[in-house]
């Protein structure tokens, strides 16, 4: 290091400046290796089950593979169809109440799938509230493919919405204006100029939706649709963790295919020398109000059903019970671990995203992709892998419980790092390297050029990515249950404790607190982004 300082941030900046790309590559490689390491456990456990490879070719397993593929395709497709137009409406048009609407549209993200799916079944399922209101004998079944797709789409489309919105915000609309000047119609300009600019961000969001869908257990379990996570759970339940690992390996293979597809589709984006320059909005005219109403339908449906059900739980709450219910300490714990996970994920994402955006080498791509694999591994598998590693190599520190919190945060980072990488990478892609080069020409040292020119431009993307990690971590259950220290309660573990023993009234309070804390965070994030820059 030329500076000779031991300051790690200084080193990081220097690494990020592009001057020391070997160092940067090594750093990115180390992060990728760390987050992919739990796969070693999956491989080793699956190897134990090598005698049972026939399991993978059984008709029931093939059906699960087909089901999982169909579900991922349907949820991802629908999320794009919802997320992109909604993002466009809230960023590029003169829709009223855009800021409030943006928060509302992102809000379904804070609802854990086990609460969302549970609420939908309670409301619309057999002997549910809708049926009792209508007073009819039976209503069409909500279970299976259709219901699972519906619920997952309602709670995951915000990934596409948020990443697309971030990219639309930094869109250089002068390019659109130029296209119009050159005689393109509005639609042609959108297709030829806007679409290529936002495509990497849409693809990044769609990838998050696809991998989340693949790794989610709560929704398919409650909606009774057989996908990988559900059969893996059955295997764990019959104490066959090696068979569960074998199926997890197949899940990882599907993930790799999805990653390859996304790489092909996303394109390389369009770099602008004026990111975020000049915002001219589409005027909706008489369509303003109908567009607003239409945009409200989705989030209202996604939020009203669980809120109504939680309200009913509260109303029907029986007497309390020791050990279950809400505590402020649990809320602080939730925010604490989620905050730590968000910060760690943002720091880890920075070199990976930068490298992936600036260095087209196969190695850079490999590192970035490797970081995605952990996202699709179900939480229970991840949790057990880390329990194994912690107990095996952690010695007395593990026995004292001191390793558990770091392991828990690490599990969150492994599971959700891609959420931070996706939007950071998309932001880097939109900033032309020539801006930094110009700063260098003017005599700025590389670290300073990065800090003063690139960083401010990509900051919204990085903050947005960290925010996604924060919100997803807040609602994560399976790894939290396995890796929390004894006696460490978070809001989700409180919901879980009360719900499993049937104390729905007591489950409602921490569940509502979870939604409230997440909603406030979401609101702050949107404000922090300085969303309304008219």
């Amino acid at each position: 290091m030329s500076t000779g300082t031991g300051d790690p941030l200084g080193r990081l900046r220097e690494l990020l400046s592009g001057e020391r790309s070997t160092g940067l590559t090594l750093l990115a490689g180390a992060i990728a290796a760390a987050v992919a390491s739990p796969l070693v456990w999956v491989l080793a456990s699956a190897f134990e089950a090598r005698g049972e490879l026939g399991l993978l070719a059984r008709p029931a397993t093939i059906e699960v593979l087909v089901n999982s593929t169909l579900l991922v395709a349907a949820v991802t497709g629908l999320s794009i169809l919802l997320g992109v137009p909604l993002a466009y409406l809230t960023v590029r048009t003169d829709l009223p109440a855009r800021r409030a609407l943006s928060v509302l549209l992102a809000m379904p993200l804070v609802v854990p799938s086990y609460i969302g799916a549970f609420a939908f079944v309670s409301a619309l399922g057999p002997r549910g509230i809708l049926q009792s209101l209508l007073g009819v004998q039976s209503i069409p079944s909500l279970y299976g493919f259709a219901g699972t797709t519906l619920v997952l789409t309602l709670y995951t489309y915000p990934y596409v919405f948020i990443t697309t919105r971030a990219s639309l915000k930094t869109l250089d609309t002068r390019l659109v204006d130029a296209a119009r000047t050159l005689g393109h119609g509005r639609w042609a300009a959108f297709r030829r100029v806007t679409v290529p600019q936002i495509k990497p961000a849409v693809a990044a969001g769609a990838l998050l939706v696809a991998l989340y869908t693949l790794s989610d257990f709560g929704t398919p379990q409650i909606m009774r649709f057989d996908v990988f996570t559900r059969v893996i759970f059955v295997r764990f339940n019959s104490f066959s963790s090696d068979l569960a690992a074998l199926l997890s390996l197949q899940l990882v293979a599907v993930t790799v295919v999805i990653l390859a597809v996304e790489s092909k589709v996303r394109g390389s984006g369009v770099r602008s020398e004026h990111p975020g320059g000049q915002q001219s909005r589409l005027r909706l005219g008489k369509w303003r109000i109908p567009a607003l109403a239409g945009a409200m339908v989705v989030p209202v449906l996604a939020l009203a059903v669980p809120l109504a059900i939680l309200g009913l739980w509260l109303a029907a709450a029986g007497p309390g019970r020791g050990g279950v219910g809400f505590s402020v300490g649990a809320a602080l714990n939730s925010v604490g671990v989620a905050g730590a996970a968000a910060l760690a994920a943002a720091l880890c994402a920075l070199p990976l995203a930068y490298l992936a955006a600036r260095d087209g080498s196969p190695l850079a791509r490999l590192f970035e992709r490797a970081a995605y694999v952990g996202y699709a591994v179900p939480g229970v598998v991840m949790g057990l892998a880390l329990v194994f590693a912690g107990a095996r190599y952690g010695g007395v520190l593990y026995r004292q419980g001191l390793l558990l919190l770091p392991l828990l945060v690490f599990a969150y980072v492994v599971r959700f790092l891609p959420q931070a990488i996706g939007s950071a990478r998309a932001s880097f892609l939109q900033v032309s390297p020539r801006l930094t080069e110009a700063a260098r020409t003017l005599g700025e040292p590389p670290g300073r050029a990065f800090r003063r020119v690139t960083l401010p431009l990509v900051a919204p993307g990085i903050v947005g990515g960290a925010a996604l990690v924060f919100l997803t971590t807040m609602k994560e259950l399976p790894a939290t249950l396995l890796l929390r220290p004894s006696g460490f309660e978070t809001l989700v573990t409180q919901v879980w404790s009360a719900q499993r023993s049937g104390y729905y009234g007591q489950a409602a309070v921490p569940a509502l607190a979870l939604l409230a804390v997440s909603a406030v965070s979401l609101f702050l994030i949107v404000r922090l982004e300085g969303y309304d820059v008219d």
Partner: protein
């Protein structure tokens, strides 16, 4: 007006009960850890402390005990608090999770596990852990507090409370004599046409079908399931809901664990609800919740003495009164209008730990067309 009120009540009930119900199929709940109305903290209201050995007469506990508990904090938290409160120098450090997750966890932790004691909701998880060589055999004087059929043959674990499969029925619809004592008679009796409730997605029900498969073979289990479907069995999400529906007269009978009707009666003492039991067949299996001293414990004596406390008069009374389970020491009677353990007639020769072999059962349920 009254019509309106009743509609509203129905609405609330659908909200609360419909939800209560789903615990079993979410994968976050576990058998026997579901809804319990009207629970109060530890006390001895209305019931004298029964026979058996009091905690006071047991060796005192001191030190810290790491308990991996598959039983939820809502069910056993106040019992733990009570025991902790008896001694100045005794702390329980509980880790709550599902029983199966805890078995998997102890297995992964290997020699470096913190667990001193595993407290499980069913014999299957205890057997699985013992079969992995992770149990320390209990001394004879602790194991023998419980009868042989409720503990491991090698004393690697003991049951601490029990639950029987049962046939709750509506007393306005049926007399006690109308309920067959043979589970296989239900599909054939015309009086049960369209009026029996069951829970295909629920863990306890699946364990019952597993027992049927193991005891009488897959074919017989299949034809029983098909017979019940032909007889119009109504699916519910969980067994508490079945017991409620019987009490409401919505259906006439059902298949549930014995404590669900007890829990309904606890909240509604005048409900027309009674419980029957089949004899010596899979409809009458008796499963236990129990404890196992993990082989990695650093204080075997403490862990063993804690198991002893779980079999004390106070703890057994707690299980009878608070969780409506069957106490397993001879001197404590179950609560409510239930036969004693000796009057029950569970099938012979069934190894309860085999009931964790769920997958073939799920395949069978699907094969006959049930959505699980």
């Amino acid at each position: 007006m009254s019509r309106h009120t009743s509609r509203r009540r129905e609405f609330l009930a659908a909200g609360a009960v419909g939800l209560a119900g789903l615990a079993g199929c979410t994968g976050f709940g576990e058998d026997g850890e579901e809804f319990q109305p009207g629970i109060i903290g530890y006390g001895r209201e209305g019931r004298e402390l029964p026979g058996g050995t009091s905690m006071q007469e047991m060796p005192p506990l001191s030190g810290t005990l790491d308990v991996y508990s598959g039983r939820g904090v809502a069910l056993v938290g106040s019992l733990f608090d009570y025991i902790e409160g008896l001694y100045d120098d005794f702390t329980i450090s509980p880790r709550y999770d599902s029983s199966t997750a805890l078995v998997n966890r102890i297995e992964q932790e290997g020699d470096n596990s913190v667990a001193d004691l595993f407290f499980s909701v069913n014999a299957g998880a205890l057997g699985a852990l013992a079969d992995r060589g992770r149990a320390t055999a209990l001394p004879g004087d602790v194991a023998s507090l419980v009868r042989e059929e409720f503990r491991d043959p090698q004393d690697r674990w003991v049951g601490t409370s029990g639950r029987a499969r049962s046939v709750p029925y509506n007393t306005d619809r049926f007399q006690a004599g109308d309920i067959p004592d043979d589970i296989y008679a239900f599909p054939e009796e015309p009086r049960f046409e369209g009026t029996v409730g069951w829970t295909p997605t629920y863990g306890s029900f699946q364990a019952f079908v597993t027992a049927m498969r193991i005891i009488d073979g897959r074919d017989r289990a299949k034809s029983w399931l098909e017979g019940m479907i032909d007889a119009g069995a109504e699916s519910y999400a969980d067994e508490f809901q079945v017991a409620q529906a019987i009490a409401d007269g919505e259906i006439g009978a059902g298949f549930t664990n014995h404590y669900y009707p007890q829990r309904v009666l606890d909240g509604r003492p005048d409900a027309p609800l009674a419980t029957a039991f089949t004899r010596n067949d899979p409809g009458a299996i008796f499963n236990v919740a129990g404890a196992l001293v993990v082989n990695t414990t650093d204080d075997e004596e403490l862990a063993t003495n804690f198991v002893r406390h779980l079999l004390s008069a106070e703890a057994q009374d707690y299980f009878a009164r608070i969780t409506f389970e069957y106490p397993l020491i001879p001197d404590v009677e179950p609560v409510g209008d239930l036969p004693t353990i000796d009057e029950l007639d569970p099938p012979e020769g069934l190894d309860l730990s085999e009931l964790s072999d769920l997958e073939p059962t799920i395949e069978l349920l699907r094969e006959v067309g049930l959505s699980v």
